[in-house]
């Protein structure tokens, strides 16, 4: 085999490897995309019925409940328009607080309960994850639109 053929063979093999790598990356990338929904969107049925997604908003005041086994907790997440019930097993992060922002990742069960396998309460110095802030802003925008529409009817 001539050196040139060898070189060509290697280049082809290299390109083939790159293509395979690109395909694998895209595949893995797609299957690991997690989408974010506000409680209002979940209520409207926009969230996936199966599979993981993220929700966010404020932890409703007085909604945090510990189940009898001491490890499961339930709390409500609200975007001030709608709320949804979330259940989580494990230790909540330090920054988790009633009335503060939260983001949870998990899936809906058949009863409409959100089973979280991860609760994120990371935040900036104003105690608000960007996603949660966006959820509140969306709900607020919807409300003002609503009320101005009503005023228009009057």
């Amino acid at each position: 085999m001539k050196a040139r053929h060898k070189r060509l063979g290697l280049i082809v093999a290299g390109l083939l490897l790159l293509v395979i790598a690109a395909v694998l990356i895209t595949k893995s990338f797609r299957s690991n995309l997690v989408f974010f929904f506000t409680p209002t969107q979940v209520e409207k049925g926009e969230a996936p019925k199966s599979g993981n997604f993220r929700i966010g908003g404020l932890v409703e005041n007085g909604s945090l409940k510990r189940l009898p086994d001491g490890l499961h907790v339930q709390f409500k997440v609200t975007d001030t328009a709608k709320t949804m019930l979330v259940e989580y097993k494990g230790i909540l992060p330090d920054l988790f607080k009633e009335g503060k922002g939260v983001v949870a990742e998990g899936k809906l069960n058949t009863n409409g309960l959100f089973e979280a396998d991860q609760v994120l309460a990371k935040h900036d110095e104003n105690y608000m994850p960007p996603e949660a802030a966006a959820a509140l802003a969306a709900a607020k925008a919807a409300k003002t639109k609503d009320s101005s529409a009503k005023e228009g009817v009057k």
Binding site: A3, K6, R7, L10, A21, L24, I25, S28, F29, S31, N32, L33, V34, F35, F36, N52, R54, R66, D69, G70, L71, K89, G90, I91, L92, P93, D94, L95, V103, L120, K122, H123, D124, E125, N126, P129, P130, E131, A134
Partner: protein, 662 residues
């Protein structure tokens, strides 16, 4: 008064940065010595004013001057002194001050230690760094002034985020920034070379030590951060593929590629265009990292409050710096030539593959980090990319590169023979294969992932040792005495061995902790005993203790193995009244073979607590690996050929001859 002095010297520093960044370039262009000679004094004066700024701000923290808004928002009179001083970089404005301070330290170092460079090159280098500094100072002055007064002053500050009240806060940000910002030197070298049209072996020799220093700092900075997350966040993770972590990891990957391609440029005069491009990319990614962390678009422990003006300013700055650099690259790069040819199988081709692998890995991390931000910016919904994406893709891309790590250093420059390398590495292959089966069996469970991981780790480590043996053998004819023989091997070679060994140790740590860690969330009452990893954890109850600015509930756990006490762990739940926040302080008994890790969850009824118990096998190896890598970098820096700074060309040429042998 002090804050106003700081403010004033900040503005003066900005003026001198403008001087440093513009006039000397014009001077070099127009051949005007008066203008070009301004570079060094302007840079040094800028350094002095930035130092004054830094000291004034830190003094305000020291003196608890709560009439300064930034101090009031990030400190408190009860905060211990060390944290009060470190609180300077606890928020957005101060971390920008830290950024420019470190940039001016680097610039100062260039004016002091880069004396052997040709005059015009040195002036251009300093001017480019002045330009970088100019942008950042403008950013601070116009959007993020740390000296803004708070009128009326408050009695006490809002305190530093309790998450940051940790020794890690004192070291992690400055060390990380030394690395981040250090790539600005490599960047300036590349730009100066493009302006100069001078890109050759000597250029690579000058750049190399600077790049290595930055890389060492970045390696340590990332390792510190990871260690800090491990014990402070209380969930025992050490890497989360969090966007901010990725932001520091991408420059590291490209910086690692750069170190290797610089080696080729220095020794073979090849890869020149590529090396320049990598220098530009490494610093661009550092800037992008700063943008990601500081613009407030991220949900992260590192995120700060958003001010859209800041985001837009940084974005514009990024476009100017990166776009300008790439434009210059496009215009000038073809001039620098291609360098020496090499065979398909050679040290060059292996290093090229190393570079391709590292850059591809960076690309995959960049995709996962930026895609959600891009979608969000385009209004296409909020998404996030799960850590499994990074785990699979990153490992899959790196694996072939790690395998080649064993072959590369044994390959000869220009043309190597695969069968010859193969015969040298037969032993390593056997050892790696046997341990890939044996280690998992000893640990109690054999899976494909752990087998592959152990194989890779042992492969990298054992091929590195074979490399040393090979080197000793080839030198034995000339120097039969083993000690003399070992002494004669250049430090740079030992540096490479150590860094590669570090990679092996790191891989083993990651594989074993991923494969064999155990985690339990339990409800424990006083005197309850939990079993984990062959150990018994007995909960002895809790007591209240008071810290300087917090109160704490401290639990006591006695860990016994076969009836013998092996550790007493005292995790805490701290309450910081100023911010009204609770902090978990995990208790960890580190060990070579495993870490025992206990953290308190929440108090339940009857004095019971929810408790989390982890056994983390070989987790310390992760950071030990990183430290070995950094030490390798330090050894490479101590190599003789970099210590000769001021001696002239004759010595350099002789040195270069030796370098070829490495």
């Amino acid at each position: 008064m002090i804050p106003e002095i700081g403010q004033l010297s900040l503005i003066l520093a900005f003026c001198f940065a403008i001087l440093q960044g513009t006039l000397p370039l014009i001077g070099v262009w127009k051949n005007n010595a008066m203008l070009s000679n301004l570079a060094v004094p302007a840079a040094r004066t800028q350094f002095v004013f930035i130092a004054i700024t830094f000291i004034c701000l830190d003094y305000s923290f020291f003196a608890n001057d709560f009439s300064v808004l930034y101090v009031a928002s990030n400190s408190n009179s009860h905060l211990p002194l060390a944290y009060r001083l470190a609180a300077l970089w606890g928020g957005h404005e101060g971390s920008m001050i830290l950024w420019v301070s470190i940039l001016s330290v680097w610039t100062m170092a260039v004016t002091l230690f880069a004396k052997s460079l040709p005059e015009t090159f040195r002036i251009r280098l300093i001017a480019v760094m002045g330009m970088v500094s100019m942008g950042f100072l403008a950013f601070i002055i116009f959007t993020s002034n740390p000296f803004e007064r708070l009128i009326p002053a408050v009695l006490d500050g809002r305190d530093l985020n309790p998450l940051l009240q940790d020794p890690g806060m004192v070291f992690h940000p400055p060390v990380l920034y030394m690395g981040y910002v250090g790539f600005s030197v490599a960047f300036a070298f590349a730009i100066a070379a493009l302006l100069d049209g001078r890109l050759d072996i000597t250029w690579a020799r000058w750049t190399r030590p600077w790049t290595t220093v930055a890389w060492v700092f970045l390696t340590l900075g990332i390792a510190f951060g990871s260690k800090w997350a491990y014990y402070e966040l209380g969930w025992g993770g050490w890497w989360f593929w969090d966007a901010v972590e990725n932001a520091s990891f991408m420059p590291w990957l490209v910086g690692t590629a750069l170190i290797h391609s610089l080696a080729v440029t220095e020794k073979r005069d090849a890869f020149k265009v590529w090396t320049v491009l990598l220098s530009i990319c490494a610093f661009s990614l550092s800037l992008l990292g700063t943008f990601l962390v500081r613009s407030g678009v991220l949900t992260s422990v590192h995120a700060f409050a958003t001010d859209p003006r800041r985001g837009i300013f940084i974005l514009m700055y990024l476009v100017v710096v990166i776009g300008g650099a790439l434009l210059l690259f496009a215009l000038r790069a073809p001039k620098v030539g291609l360098g020496e040819r090499f065979d398909v199988v050679s040290r060059e081709s292996m290093l090229l593959t190393n570079n391709v692998v590292l850059v591809a890995a960076t690309g995959s991390v960049l995709l996962g980090t930026m895609y959600p931000l891009l979608m969000d910016a385009l209004g296409a919904g909020k998404i996030s990319v799960g850590p499994p994406y990074f785990d699979t893709v990153f490992v899959a891309i790196m694996a072939p590169g790690l395998f080649l790590m064993g072959l590369g250093p044994l390959a000869k420059w220009k043309k190597a023979s695969l069968p010859e390398i193969g015969s040298r590495l037969r032993v390593a292959a056997v050892i790696s294969f046997v341990s890939s089966l044996l280690v998992p069996i000893v640990m109690g469970k054999l899976t494909l992932m752990t087998a592959v991981g152990v194989f890779m780790g042992i492969w990298v480590a054992s091929t590195t040792l074979i490399l040393l043996r090979n080197r000793i053998k080839t030198r034995r004819v000339a120097t039969p005495n083993l000690i003399e023989n070992l002494k004669g091997i250049p430090l740079a070679f030992y540096g490479m061995l150590l860094a590669h060994l570090g990679i092996g140790v790191f891989i083993l740590g990651v594989t074993l902790v991923k494969g064999y860690e155990s985690e339990q969330d339990l409800r424990m009452e006083k005197n309850d005993v939990a079993k984990a990893g062959g150990l018994a954890f007995k909960f002895e109850g809790t007591q209240e203790i008071a810290g300087p600015n917090y109160v704490s509930t401290q639990g006591t756990f006695t860990v016994t193995s076969k009836g013998k006490v092996v550790a007493v762990l005292q995790p805490e739940k701290r309450f910081y009244p100023v911010q009204g926040s609770v902090m978990t302080e995990a208790a960890i008994q580190p060990g070579v073979v495993k870490d025992m890790y206990v953290s308190l969850g929440e108090p339940l009824e009857n004095g019971a607590w929810s408790v989390r118990i982890y056994i983390k096998p070989f987790v310390q190896w992760i950071w030990a690996g990183a430290i070995l890598m950094a030490l390798g970098g330090v050894l490479a820096l101590l190599d003789r050929r970099y210590r000769i700074v001021n001696k002239k060309a004759a010595l350099a040429a002789q040195d270069l001859q030796e370098a070829y042998e490495v």
